[in-house]
């Protein structure tokens, strides 16, 4: 029995392994009936309208209206593409894994219907290479869908073709950024492109391309089946629908929970995820993956979990991934972990990101090693400010925002760590005694 606080729509029957097969998908949730109806009886504009009216917002991070984005694609005879973003590499996010593993056909049907809305003839699922088990499941499901005539040539005798390829990445977070994803899919190193042109106008192989997240596309079949009003009966006005929320870190029952958007954040963390580990307390949390500015427990626990409430608190819902830091977690060390990730994943194309992530890591390392002075805290903050808005893609901002927030909100903790690690002078003296190699490497 699912936890009564969940509202399982996308995860309906997801506990049943039979759902993974085409027969199970049809039997348990009436799968592919919506694609049949859409392909046989609906015009492109009708599908688009339903999606736009539903207010479905992208579940990959930016929260942009899915229907609106699909409507940006130009009309007319030309090769158009649909890319499903299944890169899911942001620390804290693991919902797409669950959706693909348990209900691959829901995604395939969503892609087929979205391809009708975008008038795309070729679709790709770009899945991170680490998700090998899930890619195998998708491969099997795609083969079943071809076999049953839901993909391929002249689908359901409706004179419409759709090829769907499962494309495995090979380990690079940046490929989740939509234009880097396109480069990777074209067989290149995954470097982001300058925008505009936006992918909807000029994307894969230079053609108009609709890019959406796994969860976004998984919502499509039910919206088209049950209508925009049904969808809007869940969630809040600005954040309609349900959301699969990944909760991890310092909680007793980490996992994916599907809830209506707007549910109290406390109910997610303390209720569904079981609250902090015994004897501990929650100090702070990332509300939307490691790129979202952390909220302190006081700031965040009583907010509704919605796009607008998180934005109002100066953070973001992002991909909907909560990472909980309890009172045993050192925030300066957490900042360092966060910064290291972005430094490792920076593609190096623009200077503020490449150098900014590099220097942030170095300075945070100096802090936790006790080689920094309090003024370095101001320098770290300034570095973050100089990154934000100055990069080609938002990977740079994705480090600067959470690290900046940690320094701002937990400054005394940084000062404490620096003091506890010893004064810079002590370390210089030590270095003189032990030899200069270390200090040379670490000095700014």
């Amino acid at each position: 029995m699912p936890d009564p606080r969940e509202t399982r729509v996308l995860l309906e029957h997801a506990d049943d392994p039979a759902l993974r097969t085409i027969d199970g998908y049809r039997r348990l949730v009436g799968g592919y009936a919506t694609q049949e109806r859409a392909y046989r009886d609906m015009e492109q504009d009708e599908v688009l309208k339903e999606l736009e009216d539903s207010g479905l917002r992208g579940r990959g991070g930016a929260g942009f209206s899915m229907g609106k984005k699909a409507s940006f694609l130009p009309r007319g005879e030309m090769a158009k593409y649909l890319c499903c973003n299944a890169d899911e590499s942001e620390p804290g996010a693991f919902k797409d894994r669950e959706l693909m593993q348990r209900n691959p056909h829901q995604l395939i049907e969503g892609i087929a219907i979205a391809a009708l809305a975008a008038d795309a003839g070729h679709a790709f699922i770009f899945i991170r290479g680490e998700y090998d088990a899930q890619a195998d499941i998708l491969d099997a499901a795609v083969a079943e869908a071809y076999e049953a005539g839901y993909l391929g040539k002249n689908i359901l005798d409706c004179h419409r073709d759709l090829e769907l390829v499962v494309h495995r990445g090979a380990g690079a977070y940046i490929c989740g950024e939509e234009t880097a994803l396109l480069d990777a899919l074209e067989g290149k190193r995954g470097n982001p492109r300058l925008k505009p042109p936006f992918p909807a106008v000029q994307g894969l192989y230079g053609g108009p391309t609709l890019i959406n997240n796994v969860e976004t596309l998984s919502n499509v079949p039910r919206i088209v089946a049950k209508g925009a009003d049904w969808f809007k009966s869940f969630g809040t006005e600005q954040s309609p629908g349900t959301k699969v929320v990944s909760i991890s870190g310092g909680v007793r029952r980490p996992g994916n929970y599907e809830v209506e958007l707007g549910i109290p954040t406390r109910e997610l963390i303390h209720g569904l995820a079981g609250g902090p580990l015994p004897g501990r307390e929650i100090k702070a949390f990332f509300p939307g993956g490691s790129s979202s500015p952390v909220l302190t427990a006081e700031e965040g626990l009583d907010l509704p979990y919605s796009f607008e409430a998180m934005a109002g608190a100066g953070s973001m819902l992002g991909s909907g991934s909560i990472i909980v830091a309890d009172d045993q977690v050192s925030i300066p060390h957490l900042a360092l972990r966060t910064a290291r990730f972005y430094h490792h994943e920076s593609c190096g194309k623009c200077t503020p990101c490449r150098e900014g992530t590099n220097w942030t890591v170095k300075m945070l390392e100096r802090m936790v090693r006790g080689e920094a002075t309090p003024i370095d805290l101001d320098i770290v903050s300034a570095v973050q400010e100089n990154i934000i808005g100055h990069c080609l893609c938002v990977l740079g901002d994705s480090m600067a925002m959470p690290v900046g927030a940690m320094v701002r909100k937990f400054r005394p903790e940084f000062e404490e760590v620096m003091a506890a690690a010893g004064s810079p002078l002590d370390h210089e003296l030590q270095a003189v005694v032990q030899g200069p190699a270390e200090t040379l490497g670490a000095s700014v």
Binding site: A93, D132, A133
Partner: protein, 214 residues
């Protein structure tokens, strides 16, 4: 060689990978595209790459899948394997090398046949990921069959701390289970069946140890 169709061709503002359009000039003889008869590519590998290329509107899209195929065949992306794939794909080896070097899962140096990636990112770190990595390194010891490395978030923070062992996920792991897993791999036994992510129920279907609303 022509630029990749579409992107770059029509739009001078789009960055085009120079390795793609020109090959790597510094690479000497390998700067050109090798001929198939020069590389002695196993038929199976050639056919596989050809099938992969046919799946895409543009054959260049098959570069990552082709490198995966090379890695599966040779254990890592060997220079010879890369030349073979380049000959089949009609691109320069330098181009495929530059692609391979971008991605963490493609190895351009020899690595052990069993790959263990231990997540040390935020959620796993909070739950003992660093210690788990140390334990795997110690358990693998000097055995060259094993390639143990720390890794960024693998998208399984619900089972933190976790590791990907030969592309399958396991967690939450105790440090002591590292040695068990290594022994199981050596003896050909199933690896940590209780900790296999594929077998876990949905979190909401499991007992909630906290569960208050406080």
């Amino acid at each position: 060689m022509s630029p990749v169709d579409g992107a770059g061709a029509g739009n001078p503002n789009l960055p085009v990978d120079r390795a793609l359009t020109e090959g790597r000039s510094s690479d000497g003889p390998s700067a050109g595209i090798p001929e198939l008869h020069e590389v002695d590519c196993p038929t199976e590998l050639r056919e596989r790459i050809e099938t992969l290329m046919a799946r895409y509107p543009d054959r260049h899209s098959a570069s990552i899948p082709a490198l995966w195929a090379v890695q599966e065949r040779y254990g890592w992306c060997t220079p010879e394997g890369i030349r073979q794939a380049a000959a089949v794909m009609r691109v320069t080896p330098g181009y495929l090398e530059s692609v391979a070097s971008f991605y963490d899962l493609l190895h351009t140096e020899a690595v052990g046949s069993h790959r263990i990636e231990v997540c040390t990112n935020i959620s796993c770190w909070m739950r003992g990921g660093d210690e788990l990595l140390d334990a795997f390194k110690a358990a693998a010891g000097e055995d060259e069959d094993f390639f143990v490395t720390g890794f960024e978030c693998l998208g399984a923070c619900d089972i933190a701390p976790m590791a990907s062992i030969d592309q399958r996920y396991f967690g939450p792991l105790e440090a002591a289970e590292a040695g068990v897993a290594i022994e199981q791999i050596k003896s050909g036994a199933e690896v940590l069946p209780e900790k296999n992510q594929a077998r876990r129920p949905l979190a909401g279907d499991t007992p909630n140890p906290g569960g208050s609303n406080a």
